[in-house]
């Protein structure tokens, strides 16, 4: 953040760019819808526990699988718990998993991309071959294998999804760096004798931000689906974590009998994923200069 006050040439230029971006976002109704969905989602995740109509964990077995009603707007689950309250509660965990996983993926992927793009040569070869090797395993399978090693639980889900998806960041950042490396201001910074780390952090990384942000927005959606898939297969979060995936997994046997128990958490996933995708699309249109009219 301190960097921004000093204003590197690229950042200074971006003031008009920002205004331009906001203007163009406003013109994109799909993006606005996406943003609204995300804001609602974040609001629920933050304040959810104050607004759930019922305690998401309180069981009332005699009233299990009640249809949606005024008291239980989305019905009750197999233990008579309020489906709406559980979905609201689950939002918190979904966003937590989404953000943490993205954070860890960046933490691994960005340095790998920066270093290999900046230094090139043997360092790049080694890092990129490692990246290739990790990519070679379908993400969900590697994640399942890690879950089988570590056992159920939220921390393990975060770990499994983090160590599998960082490769895209590495490749993304590397290709940005490659195109920036020879730019004048980078060469100038190097020439002035700035430390390599400084050059990377101050002059190169900020210019990768646009694609990182766009990619991350889309990826949160992918992570939420991946978490749900792991939990659905029984190798994800534990039942008491009450993620949307575990909620669906526990209610799926009652699909014909009480469709609301599995449909609404599924719909919640689809809506949030849709939200992030719509917004991510709009962001790309706005931030990616290649698609400028």
């Amino acid at each position: 953040m301190a960097d921004q006050q000093k204003k590197s040439p690229e950042i200074r230029k971006s003031k008009s760019f920002q205004a331009d971006a906001i203007r163009r976002l406003k013109k994109n109704p799909m993006g606005i819808i996406g943003l609204i969905i995300i804001i609602i989602f974040i609001f629920l995740a933050t304040f959810g526990r104050f607004i759930t109509p019922h305690d998401p964990f309180e069981m009332n077995v005699p009233r299990h699988h009640e249809e949606p009603s005024l008291e239980y707007p989305l019905g009750t689950d197999n233990f008579g718990r309020c489906v709406l309250s559980r979905i609201i509660f689950g939002a918190r965990i979904s966003i937590l998993v989404g953000l943490t996983v993205i954070f860890f993926r960046m933490l691994i992927g960005i340095p790998v991309g920066l270093v290999s793009g900046y230094y090139g040569g043997i360092v790049e070869s080694i890092l990129m071959r490692i990246t290739d090797a990790v990519i070679a395993f379908p993400g969900i399978i590697l994640a399942l294998a890690i879950m089988a090693v570590r056992g159920q639980g939220l921390e393990n889900v975060i770990l499994a999804l983090s160590v599998t998806g960082w490769t895209t960041y590495a490749r993304l950042v590397r290709s940005e760096v490659l195109s920036l490396r020879e730019r004048e201001y980078v060469q100038a910074a190097k020439g002035v004798g700035f430390h390599n780390l400084k050059v990377m952090l101050r002059h190169i990384l900020p210019n990768c931000l646009a694609s990182i942000i766009v990619y991350s927005t889309m990826t949160i959606a992918v992570v939420i689906i991946a978490e749900a898939s792991l939990s659905f297969l029984g190798l994800g979060a534990a039942a008491r974590d009450a993620t949307w995936g575990t909620q669906m997994s526990m209610e799926r046997d009652y699909l014909r009998y009480a469709w609301w128990g599995v449909t609404f958490p599924g719909a919640a996933i689809a809506i949030v994923v849709l939200g992030f995708n719509l917004f991510g699309d709009a962001l790309r249109d706005v931030l990616d200069p290649r698609l400028k009219d």
């Binding site: 233990f79 159920q152 029984g234 039942a239 046997d253 009652y254």
Partner: protein, 513 residues
């Protein structure tokens, strides 16, 4: 370019061995669905019910216990127990042949039991037949078994299925041990077993299907069905949908569908009683689970949840029980049992008295079936009110079983299955034998004396009453339920199914239409 590419892809699909016809539904074929596959079809190597039921169609045993827990003759045409109560003589049927045409003789019986008793073989059946001191073939069709001391329930353990000496390996690890003689066929027997039963295995693709074909020379006459396909369908929803669509003929349905299915003339719903006892184990190896050394903690656990409500909700058809001995069997004694009622406040007090004023943390492990996940959710909610923080850990059945057998757990939920005589129920509480690692001399004495009491049923009954009283008074475990096994069949299939006999009568199954 694209259209060409697509045409090519379509061509690949069409040319590959994917047929357009739906499977043949001739009346000689029965398709049975299951969620889990057998680990092995060598009956000596496994106790998994998914394997045993198939083995029951492929093999025979000397005798077995039927649905009324009476001993029925199978390969034995007669038997005699000598006056010393430890010598058993079995006369074998002389008309039995294996699927490869070789006759089944006393040598095969001796071979089967010897390999099971060989510690190097590692058979999970070993413990059940460990009482055997010697087994020998007196002549081609006579077997003599001598046991170490009189044993009232010994006959119940002779349902081990007999494998052919000329084909079955005496070392189950022949396939992995490089030192083993090359001449023994490596590991093939467990996949392509040869038995003497009404059906022979013609194809087994693991985790997909086992195909059985009628053995025409079966000693009781050929079976009525020509073919049995046992398919593995892990997802309940898929199994149910295919059952409804007539693509499988015998399978499972979700509990909440039973009533509708009962009313549907196209389906038969069979609720078969079982002898399976499902408790919550508390580990009595106090090095692993120190809290359970204190009776107050065990009592608190027994009072912490409304187990009646849990069983009623999660296993709708099961019978709630308070003792390991199943209701309506002869040793069952409801009057000797102490029943703990749900009282979370009292549970909290008990925990405080036992030195856990701030509550107790416990882990429970169990397999990851839907019902178990539900059990975990309900236990968690109830225990929380009693000040117990329950860590529910569900896992693959095999993994869970490994941990229970190793004693590596605090609490566990797993069924006690494969028992017919009360001795087998009680054995699990004997020192050093049970998964709960319970060890108490007084209880051991009741169990052992009852085992030695060969001729006096009243005396045995009395001893088992004392044992049941001891187990419930000391809150050794948390008794939950006796399961009821429900399967759904096409109503044209005639199969007098009973869980205790499973596939033993599969040769009599036929299509009636």
């Amino acid at each position: 370019m694209i259209t060409k590419g697509l045409a090519l892809l379509v061509a690949i699909i069409l040319l590959s061995p994917v047929a357009f016809m739906s499977p043949d539904e001739g009346n000689g074929e029965l398709i049975i669905a299951r969620g889990t596959d057998a680990p092995s079809l060598d009956p000596r190597a496994t106790t998994a019910v998914y394997a045993i039921e198939v083995c029951e169609a492929v093999f025979n045993s000397l005798v077995y216990s039927d649905r009324d827990t009476e001993i029925v003759l199978d390969l034995a045409k007669d038997y005699e127990i000598k006056d010393d109560d430890v010598t058993y003589i079995f006369e074998l049927r002389e008309d039995v042949t294996f699927h490869d045409g070789e006759p089944l003789t006393a040598e095969d019986v001796v071979f089967t039991y010897e390999t099971i008793l060989d510690p190097a073989f590692g058979s999970p059946h070993k413990e059940r037949v460990d009482a055997i001191e010697t087994i020998e073939a007196l002549d081609e069709y006579t077997v003599k078994i001598k046991i170490d001391e009189p044993h009232a329930a010994f006959m119940d353990s002779l349902d081990v299925m007999i494998v052919p000496k000329h084909a079955a390996p005496s070392d189950p690890f022949a396939d992995v041990d490089p030192d083993v003689d090359e001449e023994i066929e490596r590991g093939v027997f467990a996949h392509e077993p040869i038995g003497s039963g009404p059906f022979k295995v013609v194809d087994w693709s693991p985790e997909d299907q086992v195909v059985l074909e009628r053995y025409e020379d079966y000693h009781e006459g050929p079976a009525k069905l020509e073919r049995i396909v046992r398919r593995i369908i892990p997802e309940d929803e898929a199994q149910y949908a295919d059952l409804m669509g007539g693509r499988i003929h015998v399978g499972f349905a979700p509990e909440q569908e039973y009533d509708a299915l009962d009313a549907d003339p196209d389906f038969t719903v069979i609720h078969s009683p079982t002898l399976n006892y499902f408790p919550l184990y508390m580990n009595h190896d106090y090095d692993r689970a120190p809290m359970f050394e204190d009776f107050k903690v065990r009592k608190a656990i027994n009072k912490a949840a409304d187990y009646d409500a849990i069983v009623e909700h999660v296993w709708e058809t099961a019978l709630r029980v308070h003792t390991p001995i199943v209701q309506d069997t002869w040793a069952y004694d409801p009057d000797s049992i102490r029943v703990y009622d749900h009282d979370p406040e009292r549970a909290r007090e008990l925990l405080a008295e036992a030195g856990y004023p701030d509550g107790l943390e416990v882990e429970i492990i169990m397999s990851d079936s839907t019902t178990n996940v539900e059990l975990g959710e309900m236990l968690d909610a109830y225990y929380m009110q009693a000040g117990i923080d329950l860590q529910v850990n569900t896992m693959d059945f095999g993994t869970m079983l490994d941990r229970v057998v190793e004693g590596d757990y605090e609490m566990a939920h797993v069924g006690m299955v494969g028992m017919t005589d009360p001795d087998e129920f009680m054995q699990r509480f004997e020192s050093g034998d049970g998964a709960g690692n319970y060890s108490n001399e007084e209880l051991d004495e009741y169990i052992r004396e009852a085992r030695r009491t060969v001729d006096d049923l009243e005396r045995r009954k009395e001893l088992y009453s004392k044992a049941q009283a001891h187990i419930s008074e000391n809150a050794v475990d948390v008794p939950l339920f006796n399961s009821v096994f429900t399967i759904i069949m096409d109503s044209d299939v005639v199969w007098d199914y009973h869980y205790v006999e499973r596939w033993r009568n599969i040769d009599e199954v036929y299509w009636d239409n």
